[in-house]
């Protein structure tokens, strides 16, 4: 990774953090309705993954999708607008936090159903593989979302999502068909309030990879470099036709599961110990140490992302409400 990318990625992690902190206050103050699941604390995973991807690679996400969206290159303005329920949001206000896609950057959707994105990602990888093995002569419907024959698909899910049948079913198919896909489990120790040991009899999700004939790798989800390295390897494997990988990133979410969560199922000490290894802090320190970043540049980055977040809020705020008369538009394609 060159310095430019490192700086950009550091900035991207900051952006995600500040975006989520802003959201938290917008929710608390009642400006935004509905619900939301904040990504703060897990930034090194999303940004580390994307550091090793190409822009035309694909991604599916979860209920906790803002970080993934922003890391993949979605416009914070339109993400924020979606959260505000405005017509300028990526989903035109119909989807909200849990149902935002950004096809232009290959982001195939956040997903309100735990595990729901896993088979979808697997199918996207199948489309990529079929496109690669037999270059298609005709365009797909509207040709908009054509798979590139050398693309890989990244599929995010939580360790809670690894309990649902779709995890097993999908990894099995990917293993049999040797699909170009990287399954990334963000193990943040809790599914809502349920701790890992009540969700799974084993503590490492990555070991399940053996059941599907693919490599399983555990990485430190607070370490941007570790994540990027592991994904680069998995992506190379996938592009070489060697099939899928399962990565497990050990990580932690700073906020409650959703806005109504008081976090009574975990201790403030546990939270503090994770915050000691804050992914942005870790990367920043490293970049300062290696002179990629200066204190000044760091401050400037913070100012810039704050401005970007403010601009997003302003954009969202000033955007028009969706027209209720158009509620039935686009039910069918």
């Amino acid at each position: 990774m060159d310095d430019k990318q490192l700086l950009a990625d550091y900035r991207r992690m900051l952006l995600i953090r500040r975006f989520e902190e802003k959201l938290d206050s917008l929710f608390t103050s009642g400006v935004i309705k509905g619900t939301s699941h904040l990504y703060a604390g897990q930034e090194a995973v999303a940004v580390g993954v994307c550091a090793a991807l190409r822009s035309n690679d694909f991604m599916t996400s979860t209920h906790r999708g803002h970080g993934h969206l922003l890391a993949k290159g979605a416009d914070p303005k339109r993400v924020m607008a979606e959260l505000f329920g405005k017509s300028t949001g990526y989903s035109k206000g119909r989807g909200g936090s849990q149902h935002t896609a950004c096809a232009a950057v290959g982001f195939l959707g956040s997903n309100g159903i735990t595990g729901g994105g896993i088979p979808i990602a697997t199918g996207a990888a199948l489309a990529v593989q079929m496109t690669a093995s037999a270059p298609l002569t005709k365009d797909g419907h509207a040709g908009r979302n054509r798979a590139h024959p050398d693309a890989v698909v990244v599929c995010f899910f939580g360790e809670g999502g690894a309990s649902i049948g779709m995890f097993h079913e999908s990894l099995n198919m990917a293993g049999i068909w040797k699909l170009p896909i990287i399954y990334v489990c963000e193990n943040n120790l809790y599914a809502m309030s349920v701790p890992l040991h009540e969700e799974s009899a084993v503590q490492d999700i990555a070991h399940r990879a053996e059941s599907y004939g693919m490599p399983g790798v555990i990485v430190d989800g607070c370490d941007y470099f570790a994540v990027a390295r592991a994904v680069a390897e998995a992506a190379a494997r996938a592009r070489a036709g060697e099939g899928p990988s399962l990565l497990e990133a050990k990580t932690y979410r700073y906020y409650g599961h959703s806005k109504s969560d008081k976090r009574e199922y975990r201790t403030r000490e546990e939270e503090a110990s994770w915050k000691n290894r804050d992914p942005i802090l870790l990367l920043g320190t490293k970049l300062l140490e290696t002179d990629v970043l200066t204190k000044d540049a760091q401050l400037q980055a913070l100012h810039e992302v704050d401005a970007e977040v403010e601009a997003a809020v302003e954009f969202a705020d000033n955007s028009p409400e969706p027209d209720p008369a158009a509620v039935l538009d686009e039910v069918f394609a």
Partner: protein
């Protein structure tokens, strides 16, 4: 009588039945310390312990299946499906197993489970967290479907459901959880299969269930001032359906409008309408009408969600139009 939240009435029903019968237990995601996504079961784990208030991993089909298997051996599980939208994942165990086991194995085994699940929109949760899918379950023989509209009924019907020897899909309402109602001090049960006349009227029968009962009542109150007198019926149970109560009212008023929060096409209203026509045709002075959600995924944005979902205003508009043409 005490004033009590709908959600607390449900909690009390569970607690009382668990006290009464050691075979009753609860399972689902986050039901223990967290008390469920809507805090309905909060506090129960302190009283009954984690063995009987059992957190599950995220796997709707199989934890419903676990309930089915436990029920076959004499337990009476109460399963929590956090949002009704997720019941899509459990359709196999509900439809191919729970509903059929008693009949298809020749009556040797039975499946006394209750599947509690909050339905409906109005909270800007978006397409996968706002659906009302209960109409599907009316189409499944062997299932009972309950959908209480008040705290009183929520408690009484849940107790009836837990004591029932059959699988019961128990539809709750996210927006009703925070509403209060009067609940008796003493032990009581509201039998499944009996509708309730909420309000008497002359010109037209409004038929609703769950949250839409309140909307129908509001509409009736407003329409009264316009000289249109509506009888309001709360179905309470969708399966078995209390056709007698419906027919008694429609025979009297000659007109019916069915109100539901689910999508119009293929909804509960279709079945109710068909049964009214089959049984009260000679008494009908007007076509049966339906007020329901538009045929669209429930959108997130407030303005869109309100456009998609039915409410008292839409009920009134339908009734006015009907009375104008067939009054």
């Amino acid at each position: 009588m005490r004033e009590m939240f709908y959600s607390h009435a449900i909690r009390e029903a569970i607690a009382e039945e668990m006290e009464r019968d050691p075979n009753v237990f609860l399972l689902g995601e986050d039901v223990a310390e967290y008390g469920g996504a809507f805090k309905v079961t909060q506090g129960l784990v302190g009283q009954f312990g984690k063995g009987r208030i059992r957190n599950t991993p995220i796997c709707e089909n199989s934890f419903v299946g676990v309930a089915v298997g436990a029920a076959m051996l004499g337990m009476r599980p109460v399963v929590d499906i956090m949002f009704q939208d997720f019941i899509t994942l459990a359709m196999d165990q509900i439809v191919n197993h729970a509903s059929k086991i008693h009949y298809m194995y020749g009556g040797q085994l039975s499946v006394p489970i209750v599947i509690r699940t909050p339905a409906g929109g109005g909270r800007c949760y978006g397409p996968t967290h706002s659906q009302s899918l209960e109409a599907w379950f009316m189409h499944v023989p062997g299932l009972k479907v309950a959908a209480p509209a008040t705290a009183h009924d929520a408690k009484g019907m849940l107790k009836a459901a837990i004591r029932d020897n059959n699988p019961v899909v128990f539809v709750e309402s996210k927006l009703l959880y925070g509403q209060k109602g009067l609940v008796p001090e003493e032990d009581y049960v509201v039998p499944l299969g009996q509708a309730r006349v909420v309000r008497e009227g002359e010109h037209l029968t409004l038929i609703a269930y769950s949250r839409m009962v309140g909307e129908a009542e509001r509409a009736a109150t407003a329409l009264d001032r316009e000289g249109i007198s509506c009888e309001v019926i709360d179905l309470r149970t969708l399966a078995p359906l209390d056709l007698q109560s419906i027919a008694d009212s429609v025979v009297k008023t000659g007109r019916a409008v069915v109100v539901e929060e689910g999508c119009l096409t293929g909804g509960v209203g279709a079945e109710v309408s068909a049964q009214i026509v089959e049984n009260c045709f000679d008494y009908l002075n007007a076509p049966v009408q339906r007020v329901a959600a538009l045929d669209v995924a429930v959108p997130c944005a407030d303005a869109l969600e309100r456009a998609a979902l039915p409410d008292a205003g839409k009920v009134m508009a339908t009734v006015r139009q009907l009375m104008q043409k067939y009054g």
